[in-house]
Protein backbone atom coordinates (compact mmCIF):
# COMPACT_ATOMS: atom_id res chain seq x y z
CA UNK A 1 0.00 0.00 0.00
CA UNK A 2 0.98 3.65 -0.43
CA UNK A 3 1.21 6.25 2.27
CA UNK A 4 1.90 9.96 2.06
CA UNK A 5 4.46 11.23 4.52
CA UNK A 6 4.38 14.88 5.59
CA UNK A 7 7.47 16.47 7.10
CA UNK A 8 7.95 19.88 8.62
CA UNK A 9 10.60 22.35 9.72
CA UNK A 10 14.01 20.71 10.23
CA UNK A 11 12.69 17.29 9.17
CA UNK A 12 11.68 18.77 5.84
CA UNK A 13 15.13 20.33 5.45
CA UNK A 14 16.78 16.96 6.12
CA UNK A 15 14.78 15.05 3.53
CA UNK A 16 14.55 17.95 1.10
CA UNK A 17 10.80 17.51 0.74
CA UNK A 18 7.69 18.24 2.77
CA UNK A 19 5.76 15.43 1.15
CA UNK A 20 6.92 11.94 0.20
CA UNK A 21 5.03 8.92 -1.07
CA UNK A 22 6.27 5.56 0.13
CA UNK A 23 5.30 1.91 0.01
CA UNK A 24 4.41 0.30 3.33
CA UNK A 25 3.47 -3.32 4.03
CA UNK A 26 -0.13 -4.01 5.07
CA UNK A 27 -0.58 -3.70 8.84
CA UNK A 28 2.44 -1.41 9.20
CA UNK A 29 2.46 0.95 12.16
CA UNK A 30 3.35 4.65 12.13
CA UNK A 31 6.52 3.64 13.97
CA UNK A 32 7.49 1.23 11.17
CA UNK A 33 6.98 3.98 8.58
CA UNK A 34 9.23 6.24 10.67
CA UNK A 35 11.91 3.52 10.95
CA UNK A 36 12.07 2.98 7.20
CA UNK A 37 12.30 6.74 6.72
CA UNK A 38 15.23 6.88 9.17
CA UNK A 39 16.90 4.05 7.23
CA UNK A 40 16.58 6.21 4.13
CA UNK A 41 17.63 9.45 5.87
CA UNK A 42 19.87 8.57 8.85
CA UNK A 43 20.08 12.25 9.83
CA UNK A 44 16.51 11.93 11.10
CA UNK A 45 17.45 9.46 13.81
CA UNK A 46 18.23 12.03 16.57
CA UNK A 47 14.53 13.01 16.37
CA UNK A 48 13.40 9.54 17.44
CA UNK A 49 12.81 10.63 21.05
CA UNK A 50 11.35 14.07 20.44
CA UNK A 51 8.93 13.78 17.51
CA UNK A 52 5.23 13.16 17.62
CA UNK A 53 2.97 12.06 14.80
CA UNK A 54 -0.38 12.54 13.16
CA UNK A 55 -2.48 10.38 10.86
CA UNK A 56 -4.86 12.08 8.44
CA UNK A 57 -4.39 15.39 10.25
CA UNK A 58 -5.27 14.09 13.69
CA UNK A 59 -2.87 13.50 16.58
CA UNK A 60 -1.86 9.85 16.65
CA UNK A 61 0.55 7.34 18.19
CA UNK A 62 3.53 5.45 16.83
CA UNK A 63 1.72 2.21 17.64
CA UNK A 64 -1.24 3.11 15.36
CA UNK A 65 -1.75 0.96 12.27
CA UNK A 66 -1.78 2.78 8.98
CA UNK A 67 -4.05 2.14 6.01
CA UNK A 68 -3.58 2.56 2.27
CA UNK A 69 -3.73 6.22 1.29
CA UNK A 70 -3.15 7.55 4.82
CA UNK A 71 -1.34 10.82 5.34
CA UNK A 72 1.24 10.37 8.06
CA UNK A 73 2.86 13.47 9.52
CA UNK A 74 5.99 13.53 11.64
CA UNK A 75 6.18 16.57 13.87
CA UNK A 76 9.46 17.82 15.32
CA UNK A 77 9.13 19.62 18.68
CA UNK A 78 6.79 22.56 18.14
CA UNK A 79 7.62 26.23 18.64
CA UNK A 80 4.50 28.27 17.96
CA UNK A 81 3.46 31.37 19.85
Amino acid sequence: MHVTIRLFARLRDITGSGELTREAPGGATVGAVWSSLVAEYPELSPYEKSISCAVNADYSRFSATVADGDEIAFLPPVSGG
Partner: protein, 157 residues
Protein backbone atom coordinates in the same frame (compact mmCIF):
# COMPACT_ATOMS: atom_id res chain seq x y z
CA UNK B 1 -18.11 36.52 10.42
CA UNK B 2 -14.72 36.03 12.06
CA UNK B 3 -13.74 32.50 13.10
CA UNK B 4 -12.89 31.91 16.74
CA UNK B 5 -9.81 29.94 15.72
CA UNK B 6 -7.65 30.49 12.68
CA UNK B 7 -4.27 29.82 11.14
CA UNK B 8 -3.69 32.62 8.68
CA UNK B 9 -1.00 34.17 6.52
CA UNK B 10 -2.65 37.57 6.91
CA UNK B 11 -1.60 40.17 9.51
CA UNK B 12 -3.44 39.66 12.79
CA UNK B 13 -6.03 42.11 14.07
CA UNK B 14 -6.72 41.81 17.79
CA UNK B 15 -9.71 44.17 17.55
CA UNK B 16 -11.32 41.95 14.92
CA UNK B 17 -10.67 38.95 17.13
CA UNK B 18 -12.55 40.65 19.97
CA UNK B 19 -15.51 41.24 17.65
CA UNK B 20 -15.65 37.49 17.03
CA UNK B 21 -16.64 36.98 20.66
CA UNK B 22 -20.15 37.12 22.01
CA UNK B 23 -19.89 39.61 24.90
CA UNK B 24 -23.36 39.07 26.37
CA UNK B 25 -22.93 38.97 30.15
CA UNK B 26 -19.24 39.74 29.92
CA UNK B 27 -17.46 42.00 32.41
CA UNK B 28 -13.84 41.41 31.49
CA UNK B 29 -11.95 41.09 28.27
CA UNK B 30 -8.26 40.41 27.76
CA UNK B 31 -6.28 40.41 24.57
CA UNK B 32 -2.83 38.90 24.38
CA UNK B 33 -0.67 39.55 21.35
CA UNK B 34 2.65 37.76 20.84
CA UNK B 35 5.19 39.74 18.82
CA UNK B 36 8.34 38.85 16.93
CA UNK B 37 11.16 39.89 19.27
CA UNK B 38 14.44 41.40 18.06
CA UNK B 39 16.60 39.09 20.14
CA UNK B 40 16.65 35.44 21.25
CA UNK B 41 19.28 33.60 23.32
CA UNK B 42 21.82 36.34 22.71
CA UNK B 43 21.19 36.41 18.95
CA UNK B 44 20.09 39.50 17.05
CA UNK B 45 16.93 38.32 15.28
CA UNK B 46 16.18 39.75 11.84
CA UNK B 47 12.89 37.99 11.12
CA UNK B 48 10.93 34.79 11.72
CA UNK B 49 9.23 32.45 9.29
CA UNK B 50 6.45 30.36 10.78
CA UNK B 51 5.39 27.07 9.26
CA UNK B 52 2.37 25.01 10.30
CA UNK B 53 0.73 21.70 9.57
CA UNK B 54 -2.38 23.73 8.97
CA UNK B 55 -5.29 21.29 9.44
CA UNK B 56 -3.79 19.87 12.63
CA UNK B 57 -2.73 23.29 13.91
CA UNK B 58 -6.32 24.44 13.56
CA UNK B 59 -7.49 21.29 15.33
CA UNK B 60 -4.97 22.04 18.09
CA UNK B 61 -6.36 25.54 18.57
CA UNK B 62 -9.89 24.12 18.71
CA UNK B 63 -8.75 21.59 21.29
CA UNK B 64 -7.29 24.38 23.44
CA UNK B 65 -10.60 26.29 23.26
CA UNK B 66 -12.37 23.09 24.38
CA UNK B 67 -9.94 22.48 27.23
CA UNK B 68 -10.36 26.06 28.41
CA UNK B 69 -14.16 25.69 28.27
CA UNK B 70 -13.94 22.65 30.54
CA UNK B 71 -11.92 24.57 33.11
CA UNK B 72 -13.63 27.97 32.76
CA UNK B 73 -17.15 27.36 31.43
CA UNK B 74 -18.00 31.08 31.37
CA UNK B 75 -14.95 32.13 29.34
CA UNK B 76 -15.20 32.76 25.60
CA UNK B 77 -11.93 32.38 23.80
CA UNK B 78 -10.67 33.25 20.31
CA UNK B 79 -7.21 32.38 19.03
CA UNK B 80 -5.58 33.33 15.74
CA UNK B 81 -2.04 32.32 14.81
CA UNK B 82 -0.21 33.80 11.87
CA UNK B 83 2.17 31.84 9.62
CA UNK B 84 4.70 32.89 7.01
CA UNK B 85 7.34 35.57 7.13
CA UNK B 86 7.19 38.20 9.90
CA UNK B 87 9.43 41.11 10.75
CA UNK B 88 10.38 42.38 14.19
CA UNK B 89 7.37 43.73 16.09
CA UNK B 90 4.78 41.96 13.96
CA UNK B 91 2.10 39.93 15.71
CA UNK B 92 2.45 36.16 15.40
CA UNK B 93 -0.40 35.16 17.72
CA UNK B 94 -3.47 36.88 19.16
CA UNK B 95 -5.73 35.59 21.91
CA UNK B 96 -8.94 37.23 23.12
CA UNK B 97 -10.65 35.98 26.28
CA UNK B 98 -13.96 37.30 27.54
CA UNK B 99 -15.46 36.40 30.88
CA UNK B 100 -17.95 37.71 33.46
CA UNK B 101 -14.98 38.35 35.80
CA UNK B 102 -11.35 39.25 35.14
CA UNK B 103 -9.58 36.38 36.90
CA UNK B 104 -10.91 33.75 34.51
CA UNK B 105 -10.21 35.84 31.42
CA UNK B 106 -6.57 36.33 32.41
CA UNK B 107 -6.17 32.67 33.38
CA UNK B 108 -7.76 31.25 30.20
CA UNK B 109 -5.65 33.55 28.04
CA UNK B 110 -2.44 32.46 29.78
CA UNK B 111 -3.48 28.81 29.55
CA UNK B 112 -4.09 29.18 25.82
CA UNK B 113 -0.65 30.59 25.02
CA UNK B 114 1.09 27.97 27.16
CA UNK B 115 -0.84 25.19 25.41
CA UNK B 116 -0.09 26.64 21.97
CA UNK B 117 3.59 26.32 22.78
CA UNK B 118 3.05 22.72 23.92
CA UNK B 119 0.79 21.07 21.37
CA UNK B 120 0.09 23.10 18.21
CA UNK B 121 2.14 22.00 15.16
CA UNK B 122 3.67 25.36 14.30
CA UNK B 123 7.41 25.98 13.94
CA UNK B 124 9.52 29.11 14.02
CA UNK B 125 12.43 29.43 11.65
CA UNK B 126 14.63 32.13 13.14
CA UNK B 127 16.81 34.22 10.86
CA UNK B 128 19.38 36.00 12.96
CA UNK B 129 22.51 37.99 12.29
CA UNK B 130 24.94 35.36 11.08
CA UNK B 131 22.64 32.41 10.43
CA UNK B 132 19.30 30.71 10.81
CA UNK B 133 17.88 27.98 12.99
CA UNK B 134 14.64 26.06 13.46
CA UNK B 135 13.41 26.59 17.00
CA UNK B 136 12.34 23.32 18.64
CA UNK B 137 10.33 23.47 21.83
CA UNK B 138 7.94 20.81 23.10
CA UNK B 139 7.00 17.36 21.80
CA UNK B 140 3.41 17.88 20.69
CA UNK B 141 1.23 15.47 22.65
CA UNK B 142 -2.21 16.69 23.73
CA UNK B 143 -2.62 13.59 25.93
CA UNK B 144 0.44 14.42 28.03
CA UNK B 145 -1.31 15.06 31.35
CA UNK B 146 1.81 16.45 32.99
CA UNK B 147 2.21 19.13 30.31
CA UNK B 148 -1.45 20.09 30.56
CA UNK B 149 -1.22 20.36 34.34
CA UNK B 150 1.88 22.50 34.00
CA UNK B 151 0.06 24.89 31.68
CA UNK B 152 -2.88 25.01 34.11
CA UNK B 153 -0.57 25.75 37.03
CA UNK B 154 1.10 28.62 35.17
CA UNK B 155 -2.33 29.98 34.21
CA UNK B 156 -3.65 29.92 37.76
CA UNK B 157 -0.73 31.49 39.63
Amino acid sequence: MIALTAITAEPLDAAALVRALDITGIGALTTFVGLVRDHNLGRRVMRLEYEAYEPLALRGLELIVQEAAEQWPDVRLAIHHRIGRMGIGEASVAIAAASPHRADAFAASRYAIERIKQIVPIWKHEYFEGGDVWIEGATADPDNVEAREKAMKIACT
